[in-house]
């Protein structure tokens, strides 16, 4: 399991999650990305990001509602192929 940043983050990018993440596993490219991404291999499931997010955008992958289920793959994908992830975010936001 890992925490995932879902649609409410898009174009908000508050970054409170980045501040509190004890293991620095949340990132984005400033000026390029529309949301932040959690590295599922680095996430230790502490939940600090979930409670810090003012948008309510972050939750455990197993608790994602069906409409946001794709964000598990999007967060994972950004660490491999950021352009793919950005296209996916655009699709989700459309």
């Amino acid at each position: 399991m890992a925490f995932v940043i879902a649609a409410p983050c898009i174009d908000h990018l508050d970054q409170a999650c980045v501040e509190v993440c004890p293991v620095d596993c949340i990132s984005h490219d400033p000026g390029v990305d529309r949301k932040a991404y959690i590295d599922p291999e680095g996430c230790i499931e502490c939940g600090a990001c979930e409670s810090a997010c003012p948008q309510g955008a972050i939750m455990l992958d197993v608790r994602l509602p069906a409409a946001w289920a794709n964000f598990t793959e999007i967060d994972r994908g950004w660490w491999i192929d950021p352009e793919w992830a950005r296209d996916a975010v655009d699709s989700q936001a459309a």
Binding site: A7, E19, V20, C21, P22, V23, D24, C25, S27, D39, E41, G42, I44, E45, C46, G47, A48, G56, M59, V62, R63, P65, A66, A67, W68, A69, N70, E73, I74, G77, W79, I80, D81, P82, E83, W84, D87, A88, S91, Q92, A94
Partner: protein
């Protein structure tokens, strides 16, 4: 499993993208920048299951505030496995960070920390967290910890001890066994200064053979807390007896350790009229033991099998 979430969109989501995730060179995974940037300079066994690890960052400790946490990591199979731990160090005097670490037998990190040679390279993240002393707060300070949850309070007490007129402090420390009441000597070392510390240790399993000979308080920390508040003149319902100890200005309470203790202690404090704004909490992750019971693992809340 689908969980209903308020504000969530209706089911059904658009397709992801027009193409698959890249493979080949473009598909190389980004590696987070987790350098081995510190060295383990000491490991002191405080009990059979709790160690004090002293870690010195190559670039110095830098600015931090008592009560904050840092990620401590070790490279295992080319990957840094890390968990956050509260620093017990005094920000004004430290050239290293002290961590209290409880060994989790099947944990991903702590067994390695137990065998790591002194002098080994480790990863240390930046200090984070807001579980810190309220600046300028003159009210008496009540600290409640279970197990290794005493760690941030050591840093806080060391910080308070340097103040010209430190507030009165009470430290209530709960553990299942006497051997887990770690760092009593550290508290004693602070007492000769100008800091007033009332140290209240308690054992939650007095019938455990390991606690034979214990003549101090017994009961869980949250239960003893009610007794401490009563003896200080605070009654359920918020009644105050200003002449007895803590005074009419209220107290500032800091809770750290097992999430169950934190929740129960919060309830006790609220019942005794302590405003929620004066209650500060840090919850540690709890690991199920072989007996199905939980024990504070020492890392910040939720930090996985440590």
């Amino acid at each position: 499993m689908v969980v209903e979430i308020a504000g969530a969109p209706p089911a059904g989501s658009p397709s992801l993208t027009r193409r698959p995730i890249a493979d080949g060179p473009r598909g190389m995974r980004r590696a987070p920048d987790l350098a081995d940037n510190a060295v383990l300079v000491a490991r002191e066994m405080l009990s059979p299951t709790v160690a004090r690890l002293v870690v010195r960052p190559d670039a110095g400790v830098g600015p931090f505030v008592a009560g904050q946490y840092l990620a401590l990591g070790v490279r295992i199979d080319d990957r840094v496995v890390q968990r956050p731990y509260s620093t017990a160090s005094d920000p004004a005097a430290a050239d290293s960070h002290e961590f209290l670490v409880r060994r989790v037998p099947d944990g991903a990190l702590t067994p390695r920390l137990w065998t790591l040679p002194v002098g080994a390279r480790v990863h240390l993240g930046p200090p984070k967290g807001t579980f810190t002393l309220v600046a300028g707060d003159r009210k008496p300070h009540l600290f409640v910890a279970t197990g290794t949850g005493i760690a941030p309070f050591l840093g806080m007490l060391r910080t308070l001890a340097r103040r010209p007129e430190p507030p009165r402090t009470i430290l209530l420390h709960g553990a299942a066994r006497v051997e887990d009441l770690v760092c009593g000597d550290d508290i004693a070392d602070l007492a000769p200064g100008g800091l007033s510390i009332t140290y209240v240790p308690t054992i939650s399993r007095p019938d455990d053979p390991a606690n034979r000979g214990w003549s101090g308080r017994t009961g869980r920390a949250e239960a003893v807390l009610a007794s401490v508040l009563r003896s200080a003149g605070l009654a359920p319902g918020g009644g105050l007896a200003p002449a007895r100890g803590l005074g009419p200005g209220g107290i500032s309470a800091y809770l750290c350790g097992n999430p169950g203790m934190v929740a129960a202690a919060e309830a006790v404090l609220l019942e005794h009229g302590i405003p929620a704004a004066d209650i500060h909490a840090e919850r540690y992750w709890t690991a199920p033991s072989a007996t199905g019971e939980s024990s504070a693992a020492g890392a910040i809340v939720g930090a996985g099998p440590a």
